[in-house]
Symmetry: C2
Subunit: 344 residues, 2 copies
DNA sequence: TTGTATGCGTTATCAT
DNA sequence: ATGATAACGCATACAA
């Protein structure tokens, strides 16, 4: 990498400062001069030195995006939306944390080191005093450093007051609506496949489920009819079998998300049970594949793409933050073929 | 961002150079001194300035990953594998190109500007003289700059000789094996839903299909039984309808990838056709959802995760490049329920 | 509108 | 083993 600002300046017979001004475009430069500079840039095929520029300006054009795993559609869709919104002005640094607070800290530090322009943290938080405060401390540090921090799908409480903007998902509301739907269909023995115990998303969705049950006096067996597992297909499969063991007369199973529901459906089919004739199944998120399942999956739609796109705009400062720095993204119940009235 | 190397140095009563040596760890430092420095680093909660470091050392710890779209499982899986392999030593900059050469160029330039340590380009290339040479030129520039370039799923011919390492997918072989499988089952009227016409992946898969047909003297109607479209569900849906219109007696449809196959299946079901009783369907890639389809999809498995992981290791220089800089990743035919003997 | 000069925080070279 | 000190390439305050 040889050609620098100085080379371009020499070729255009101007000072390096002028070239810098032309390229950043945020300073008046005579049209004729600008043209000469641009020509020199073209002729030399000059490309700015990002690190040097970042050092001098004390800001970079990197935006960190923390996700559990980009290969998971839930996060992949958000990462994609962020990337699209950033366009060619900023680069998205995608970090797979696997949901681990330690790795979140590691990446947050790495992004701090890069002087990232912004950081978007997606997905639920792990509920643990030490973890939460450690992550909060890093967020405070980032914010103090001028890095915009946006939470997408994580409670605002995960960041110190005033250090971040949060777009929360209404997991509780969605969970409640879903179970209300099943109860309205006539279901009374409803199994629940929850996610990992210590995560906010898990708790909120479960809370909503329980609230619906309680509202109809159906919460007596709630504990027994709840099985925890990971947010993946395998866990859904195993949990469904466990639920059927505990309660063979189950008429419905609510999964903590669509991927888990996929495993639940597979397990039911293996057991020779028909959906929804024998057992109704519901998921959460409304990922693309859910509508293509046979039968199509009843679920709670979260506008992941829209929310992430907005998170990106907030991160870029292109959109004003909501009142109080928090906004709740609405959900939408998607009733499809996987749920129906219980047999009998 | 206040605390710098100098601050740490002052606190540890050493020079900045020593602190730098301790932190990079690639230079002998007295144990006692190292301890003192580390303590100062801890006490001040010092974090290196990435841009400054990159400027001075002329290298960054950024690795660019070009994908069509991270939200697409095919690419999401690869991006995830790369990210995982990079660990905490490097950051993955994920760029959605949408398959557009222009955007590839844009991102390549951005990565050049960042002095990225490496760039991994995934997915097929657009076959067009201007585009190809423009991208090749950027790759040459990156390579000349010390950036390692690795192609994953793109022909080695997309980069100038010696500038990149390539892990190619055996799209032709896979396509051929798939159609051979259908022919062996007894199918004679096989429709093909191809991807966008000008892409290498599209052409290679189609070539394989045609080769199998030709080997059995079935290529007379090949042209008429081929419909091109995008690599998405909607295109598969539309293409299936079009194929049925052209040839109502079709007994099998091969889709250019699993996502397209999903659309094909949906269209067939809407037409009241059973899979595989009335029409067999096959896909390509073996994405996670394929095994969960009803019936499960016969497809060609590509080891996306493994290939991408290896691409990352090559990008980091942790693995030796294959002979000639090119290696072909093997495929594996996955025969499942969506294909069977034709009716009658 | 343009040029000059200085600083940004590290790394690496050269002494010691 | 450690310390000065000169790059690294750009941005910006200040001058002109």
């Amino acid at each position: 990498m040889a050609v620098t600002l100085a080379d371009v300046a020499a070729r255009a017979h101007v000072s390096a400062a002028t070239v810098s001004r032309v390229l950043s475009g945020n300073y008046p430069v005579a049209e004729e001069t600008r043209a000469r500079v641009m020509r020199a840039v073209d002729e030399l095929d000059y490309v700015v030195n990002g690190p040097a520029s970042a050092l001098a300006a004390a800001t970079s054009d990197l935006v960190g995006v923390l996700v559990n795993d980009v290969a998971d559609a839930f996060f992949g869709i958000m990462a994609s939306a962020v990337q699209t919104e950033l366009g060619a002005s900023k680069l998205a640094v995608v970090c797979n944390t696997g949901g681990s607070p330690e790795r979140e800290l590691t990446y947050l530090t790495l992004l701090l080191r890069q002087r990232a322009a912004a950081v978007i943290i997606t997905g639920s938080a792990v509920e643990g005093e030490e973890h939460m405060s450690a992550v909060a401390a890093r967020i405070r540090r980032l914010a103090a450093n001028g890095t915009r921090v946006v939470l997408c799908g994580r409670p605002a409480s995960a960041a110190p007051e005033g250090t971040a903007v949060a777009l929360e998902f209404d997991n509780r509301g969605g969970g409640q609506a879903l179970t209300e739907h099943l109860i309205a269909l006539g279901h009374r023995r409803i199994g629940y496949v929850a996610g990992p115990a210590e995560r906010t998303t898990t708790r909120h969705r479960l809370d909503g489920h329980r609230a619906a049950l309680a509202a109809h006096g159906l919460d007596a067996n709630a504990e027994r009819l709840t099985v925890h597992g990971l947010y993946d297909r395998g866990s859904g499969h195993a949990a469904a079998l466990e639920l059927l063991r505990r309660e063979p007369d189950l008429t419905a199973i609510v999964a903590s998300n669509d991927t888990v529901a996929l495993g639940v459906c597979a397990a039911l089919r293996e057991k020779g049970l028909r959906i929804p004739d024998d057992v109704s199944v519901a998921g959460f998120d409304d990922l693309p594949f859910s509508a293509d399942m046979q039968p199509a999956l009843t679920t709670v739609r979260l506008p992941l793409q829209e929310a992430a796109g907005r998170a990106a705009r907030l991160a870029l400062g292109r959109e004003r933050a909501p009142e109080g720095g928090v906004d709740v993204v609405p959900f939408e119940l998607q009733v499809r073929g996987s749920t129906g009235a219980p047999r009998g």
